[in-house]
């Protein structure tokens, strides 16, 4: 059957579009190989992670933290901070972190998101530590986040947490331990921090707090003994 002029026109347009697409797609593939192009879904959700390269906080962490998994979790923590609460991506991101990195990974990201890690580092810097010691202390804390960071909830049994935290410090002698509490748990965090200090020696306590949260930093006292 001979095609009608309309059918010929449609076939011509379709063929033209296909040829264009095919040519263009080959061009895209070549540009991908040259690292000249990337395909994303949504610009804003891509940028929330990619743009961290311009964040001075990320530059600092990148310099001091060498473990790749920790660096990923730190970057994600900074991204979590940027995502508005209630953002649809927030829940699924937490779910993915939990699936891939477990509770420990979620805690690392949370420490960064809440600014607790920043507060801890501020204290370390004020102690004029060497760059190597600073990096080692940060990595040690993050690698042992489940042992050396205590997230306090408002309904905890403070006496039990004081005993278990003090026992952990006395057994492992970590360079630092953080006690974090936010909103209704700030009072419980204070009770725990002060209770722990009564049961350990050789550590000093410092505090960082804002309207929402409090972070108690229990750190080895490296100052020389007074005669």
């Amino acid at each position: 059957m001979t095609p009608t002029p309309d059918e010929e026109a449609i076939a011509g347009v379709t063929k033209g579009a296909l040829e264009f697409s095919s040519e263009r797609i080959k061009g895209w593939a070549a540009r991908l190989a040259n690292r000249d192009i990337a395909f994303i879904e949504d610009r804003s959700s891509f940028d929330v992670v990619a743009d961290q390269k311009r964040n001075p906080e990320w530059s600092f962490y990148k310099e001091y933290v060498k473990t790749k998994e920790l660096r990923v979790l730190i970057r994600i923590g900074l991204a979590l901070r940027k995502l508005e609460s209630g953002h649809a991506d927030l829940q699924s991101l937490r779910k993915n972190i939990l699936h891939k990195h477990g509770k420990k990974g979620l805690h690392v990201a949370q420490l960064v998101q809440d600014g607790d890690l920043g507060a801890f580092i501020g204290t370390l810097i004020s102690k004029q530590m060497s760059k190597a010691d600073l990096g080692a202390t940060i990595e040690d804390l993050l690698l042992n986040v489940d042992k050396y960071v205590v997230f306090i909830k408002s309904d905890i049994d403070t006496r039990r947490v004081i005993d278990s935290t003090a026992a952990r410090i006395n057994a492992n002698l970590p360079p630092a331990l953080l006690i974090c509490g936010s909103k209704g748990a700030k009072g419980a965090a204070e009770t725990v921090a002060k209770g722990v200090m009564k049961k350990i020696d050789g550590y000093e306590l410092s505090t960082y707090q804002d309207k929402v949260k409090v972070v108690y930093l229990i750190m080895k006292d490296d100052s020389p003994d007074e005669d």
Binding site: A38, L93, N96, H99
Partner: protein
Amino acid sequence: MELISLKNVPTDAKVALLKELGYGADSVYVLDNHGQPLKDKYIDVPVRLENMLILPGSAIVLDDNPLSIANYLEEFGELP
């Protein structure tokens, strides 16, 4: 580097691009070279056509989520 949003690319063009890169696709998922749903190398979920990233570095196809993006940037470096 040019970033192209796949939201503006029709499905048949996405499929053609995937084929050009050695992948396949069914109506929902990206397929690997054995015809199986391709799993995101960082979070182990099958990559859907409507939520994928194609990034440089042997044409890496990933699920579009922040954790995979962060892992990719750590492994392959920042995009210029």
